[in-house]
Subunit: 232 residues, 2 copies
């Protein structure tokens, strides 16, 4: 059979094989929050020895899923890009289809708002993306999205002061498929910048146990001013 598919059986199998080991899966999941961790810590998280972890990390590196930053005798690993994070999120789709109600019941906070890599996802992430598109604050371009001045004006009016408007307008965003909502939310450098600033400003608070983000009462008020509301 001639494979003219954009992804050949071998490439697909190769990608699958990278995930097919619990130790490697654990490493990737640990880096999903955008953190950068040394090899030793990842070995401990994965529950394997240093030698084994080193082999896994080399394989993930060669496979293009991880990036590395060498510093002295340490090697710090991170996900190669936002794309990889979005891709890992998307991996959860078949699983989510089967267990979505159960998962929602088990951890509603995670469905309401969480980090996807380093940007905002969940109901709140989707609501923000759609509301701003609706209002014309966010514009889809050929590849990605960008903010318009109307948006930065509104942000400043809502008490935003973390990042200068000029800088925000230069950042590019990108749609990222949300596995619980099955709709797009705002990722890319723009999404990361906005989310990080909202956390710093106390609009959102990181949960300790997982990737959930907890909106503060003040944050909810300010977000509502920006047209972003949670349904329930």
């Amino acid at each position: 059979m001639t494979d003219v598919s954009p992804l050949s059986r071998y490439q697909l199998a190769e990608l699958g094989a990278l995930l097919a080991e619990p130790a490697r899966a654990a490493i990737l999941l640990a880096l999903m929050d955008g953190t950068t961790r040394p090899a030793g810590e990842l070995a401990r998280i994965a529950g394997v020895g240093a030698a084994t972890a080193s082999a896994h990390l080399k394989r993930l590196l060669d496979g293009g899923l991880l990036g590395v930053h060498e510093q002295g005798r340490h090697r710090y690993f991170r996900l190669a890009s936002d794309d990889v994070a979005a891709w890992l999120e998307a991996m959860a789709l078949p699983h989510a289809a089967r267990t979505a109600p159960a998962a929602a019941a088990r951890d509603p906070a995670l469905c309401r708002a969480r980090t996807c890599y380093r940007h905002l996802a969940g109901q709140l992430g989707v609501a923000l993306c759609e509301a701003w598109l609706e209002r014309g604050w966010l514009q889809t371009e050929s590849d990605g999205m960008c903010l318009l001045p109307a948006a930065t004006d509104a942000l400043v009016q809502a008490g935003w002061q973390a990042i200068p408007a000029q800088q925000l307008l230069r950042l590019r965003g990108r749609g990222c498929l949300d596995w619980t909502e099955r709709r797009l939310h705002l990722g890319g450098p723009l999404g990361v910048a906005i989310t990080g600033a909202m956390i710093d400003a106390g609009w959102l608070r990181r949960a300790h146990r997982n990737r959930a983000l907890l909106p503060t009462p003040d944050g909810l008020r300010r977000l509502a001013k920006l047209g972003v509301r949670l349904d329930n």
Copy 2:
């Protein structure tokens, strides 16, 4: 480490393992066009013996990626759902990021329009979805999308007669992430119905070698009437 992630390391590894074998990957890719094929044919496509293929099919079935329809001494396999097809498309993302320009150069037709499972994807699919959302013909709901009467009126006016308007209005659609465009196109039963009817009506023609869809001159005219234009 406590895994409170919605997808545990073991679940992620299990999903990866399902793809990690070229034979299984070939089976899944062969079913990506929405076809239903008997075990023997899939064995031939995968290039393995009947016994081996049977084991692979059982595993994919247990993993929830395939569905089966028994008829006499034949067993016909298909992808379990549109979700699985969308998920497989999404698997191509890290690969597409690396080779997107090359792939586009190699097969521009595939990027312009193709089937994703059984619905329209590529530039044309994204253009259709966005144009109809823009015009208010397509409405996003809590889970999915649906067509509004304004859309069916326009379809009839453009010469559409394949499916009665009443029936179209009842079908549900769903956003499906496009791996070349990184934006949503219209999938789900609604997307499947519209795409199938467009092919039947001669607006689009299936390519022989791959999943590309070739718009006919007549089809392009009618699509333009419906607000759907290809950029280039």
